[in-house]
Point group: C2
DNA sequence: CTGTTAGCGCGTTCAG
DNA sequence: CTGAACGCGCTAACAG
């Protein structure tokens, strides 16, 4: 490269790297030569010498999940605007894979990590300490990890769930099903057990379950374990569980669904039972999508600011990369309650 | 690090790097020391000396789009299985951004690139030559680029569209709308113009439009430009355009939607017009989702193997990385036609 | 089996 | 303003 323009290699490096002094004419010559031979500076070598990789790592459960897709989009847009690229790793919600992913990112010397962690408490989050020991800031997104001293960008799942369930109650419902419960085999009968289990599972799920319980408490409605789905968190199981709820002698008149697949599974169960949304069973779900608008009746939903979660997390991360003292706070973004037509007063079937 | 275990640095490197000979006891000692001080090998330095980054680059229009989310998941799973990580870049369907993304990947010395390109022809795909000049294999996914000598992993959009439209025709329809047409301002009146424009736009869109025309030809149905949506490819415009079609004196009795948002937009237009799916207007769309099953009636859809497109593209790429001669072929994956209940004989409103 | 040595391609002094 | 020399942390040959 240097030879191509008839200058020393460091002069070439200076013009291409955009640092130090270079006379205009030499500059032109170098640029022309670079263009001519299709020269591209080796970012790896640059990173080695500067210690900056201009890459951030993102760890999520599943990039194919539209929610994470939105979050990652927000992150990568913000990163791109600052000249950073994004390495995305999926963990299938498995902690060991999350640890491995973190190590990969440490090895590749990313400048920062954003993670929607599957860790339930600080004790199972030692891998983030590792990253920090290597000078790599970490910020959590979508999920906080209780006890972990890390910035986290989240929504208030508990409040959003509570609000939704309270609206159901305000419409007159007292038998409200909770779909996407704790992934346990045995259904906990006691309310206390339920809370314990919620606290020992995925943070978002636990918070939403708590919000549901909060709303019941506020209105003095007694908790019934039969109205909480348990088992594997997949659409088919939601369908099965809701079908069972609907067959109860005192079935739910409303359903609160904490995720898209919980909603579609529930909808299938309604159809299986020959029941209609709103008229027979009221529904509210998390994560709005354009489909929710075209159903008949259109679905009342809680919208999460997916991209904003990502961009905000990136901003916090870049703050740390720029050397700001980590504030270690919970950055809470607003959800939006979108009222449509899937909630009506209970019917007495 | 080396000092920590009391051995030479290359011995340490050998055990950690997993190459060359190391005696078991020394090996243990090194591993222990590494563990103790939380040592992690610098992958950047390794890449510099080996020329292998163990990273592949993926370029798509928008990682938040569930279709690309699925494709990327397939790619990253296959890559992960081979010890590679994935750098994902979104281009917003803009060619200049795609060129910039390619350059970033070249700079970072990725070992291969998979791209859903926005390029319409070989002439606008010089950036891939650049990558190849740097020894980086490129494989296309989701979209072929006519005239470009590159492997491409796609589905047969034209055949799938043709098949779907023929089924509509078989059900008795002769007025069939095409939703998600060419993004032009002025509606082309002539069939020939329409074909020309289709060929000059996004490959998948053009192929699907061709398939639509093929089906009409087969059955001797005369093409009517008024039944093809034009303008910006966003849900709201689909709604507007379909509303106009429905207001025609001889309106469509069936709609073929080439994408999710085209489908939801069309569904909104039907509702605006007080029309029902199947009973009043039959519908078939691309890209199945769990929502399509819970609509009433459930939607007949064409399912694309999103993840398989990704994994297959990765396999082809790794073949090239392993030094196989590029076969330069079109790898075509099967779509699945999912018959549900949104197609019925035409009604005479 | 192990230590030594020479690059990989940059950024960064430091003379000139 | 420009060129030469060194180091980033690792792999790859090569002696020992």
């Amino acid at each position: 490269m240097a030879a191509g323009a008839g200058v020393g290699r460091s002069t070439a490096a200076r013009t291409l790297g955009g640092y130090g002094y270079v006379s205009p004419d030499v500059r032109e010559r170098v640029l022309a030569a670079a263009e001519r031979i299709g020269y591209r500076a080796n970012a790896l070598a640059r990173s080695m010498s500067t210690g900056i990789s201009n890459t951030i790592g993102v760890i999520v459960a599943d990039i194919a999940n539209p929610f994470f897709g939105g979050v990652v989009r927000g992150i990568s847009d913000a990163a791109h605007a600052r000249g950073y690229d994004t390495l995305v790793l999926s963990t299938n919600e498995k902690l060991p894979e999350e640890v491995a992913a973190t190590n990969v990112l440490i090895d590749k010397r990313v400048d920062g990590i954003i993670v929607a962690s599957a860790a339930l408490d600080a004790a199972s989050a030692a891998h983030f300490e590792q990253a920090r020991d290597h000078g790599i800031p970490v910020v959590l997104v979508d999920r906080a990890v209780p006890g972990l001293e890390l910035d986290a960008v989240v929504i208030d799942n508990r409040a959003a769930a509570r609000d939704a369930v309270e609206r159901l109650i305000a419409a007159g419902h007292r038998r409200i099903g909770f779909v996407w419960g704790p992934p346990v085999q045995e259904r906990p009968r006691l309310r206390r057990e339920m809370v314990d289990i919620a606290a020992r599972n995925l943070w978002t799920d636990g918070e939403r379950l708590q919000g549901y319980l909060d709303a019941l408490d506020d209105e003095g409605i007694v908790f019934d374990a039969d109205l909480v789905m348990v088992g594997e968190k997949v659409e088919e199981n939601a369908r099965v569980e809701v079908r069972q709820m609907l067959a109860l002698t005192d079935p739910p008149t409303a359903l609160f669904c904490t995720e898209t697949d919980a909603m579609t599974g529930s909808l299938q169960a309604l159809r299986d039972a020959g029941l209609r949304v709103a008229t027979d069973v009221s529904m509210i779900g998390f994560d709005d999508s354009s489909w929710a608008r075209v159903l008949e009746p259109p679905l009342t939903m809680i919208e999460q600011p997916m991209q904003a979660l990502g961009t905000r997390a990136a901003e916090v991360l870049f703050g740390a990369i720029d050397g700001q003292e980590p504030s270690v706070e919970l950055h809470t973004l607003e959800t939006r309650f979108i009222e449509r037509a899937s909630v009506a007063p209970p019917s007495d079937r």
